[in-house]
Symmetry: C3
Subunit: 139 residues, 3 copies
């Protein structure tokens, strides 16, 4: 018989960039009692996003941050700048990455590959905690 | 006991760019009778896409449209131009954004953040209605 | 009564670029016995990704490959280059496209549009087989 589990994660990023929270997701799945199913993560913000990426090499993480800072730069002469120069590039970098991720679950674990980690991609400075809604359906 | 609901939305965009249809999605979820679950939106096209973005500031919407017009421009000397200069950039802008979005549902509402709206991102001119398939599983 | 089905696809890409595998997905859904539900595909790698795109025009496919080679180029002076010049651009191109796709299923078929195909986007040279996890929940 299929059933569901939900949680709301709060993640504080102390600086812009990629912040891994795979361990929090692993705990949620393990504690849900659901062994096989579909896990969904949803970021409730438009200036932060989600990314599954290489979790072993810090240099890869830095290159990713540098890349998105370059293709959606702060000095992009945007019309929307009410909240400062990091406001509009944050929306662009969110649009280019992901608001939501779904991952199958098998044997009580998300089926991530060996080198895959789940990251919050914080695009703004001095933000409060970010909310990630978790949903799991399965049995 | 879990069950499912489905619908097919038709959305006509009178011009290229972002068109919010959050209200149609809210209605579908409210009328489904499913209070807790997972909602999925799927765009049945390769030259239009989906985006969850800031729904309060029209300037942010315009900046997003300008940005994607710049990074995947019409004058990009593409090999594929059978259907005109807005054909290939439409595929590129779709690839860079989203064909599909899933959002957890709680208390009969998608758990969107305060400033999040759901948008059709129309990348072509003079298109017919676009079809968005909706699926909801829950209880 | 809802139930689930799972599979693990192995796909070998003989060269970097887009490789359609819609037929393998069609077979999985048809053989699952599930007629209505939600299908999820998950790529277990950070240097290959998924894309739903135009499946009729080979020129559109080539333009997509050329575009991503240009916006995330091999000669991008990356810090992370342990595995060669195609390593870091592979992560960037994966981040810009999709690790996961979900598609509603109706009448035993994913509700793809007429011109939509499902592609593995291989970003590296000389890779082993890639693993795509499939999950289907429905009835």
């Amino acid at each position: 018989m299929l059933r569901q589990a939900n949680a709301l994660l709060s993640i504080r990023a102390d600086r812009p960039g990629l912040h891994e929270f795979t361990d929090k997701v692993v705990d949620f799945v393990a504690n849900s009692g659901i062994r096989e199913g579909l896990l969904t993560l949803f970021c409730r913000h438009t200036s932060a996003s989600l990314l599954i990426q290489e979790n072993a090499a810090p240099a890869a993480r830095r290159d990713l941050e540098t890349y998105f800072a370059r293709i959606a730069p702060e000095n992009g002469s945007y019309e929307h700048d009410d909240e400062g120069p990091d406001d509009m590039p944050a929306h662009l970098r969110s649009a280019l990455t992901h608001t939501q991720l779904s991952i199958p679950v098998q044997a009580s674990k998300a089926v991530l590959g060996t080198w895959q980690g789940i990251f919050l991609f914080e695009h703004r400075r001095n933000t409060p905690e970010r909310e990630i809604a978790l949903h799991l359906v399965g049995e």
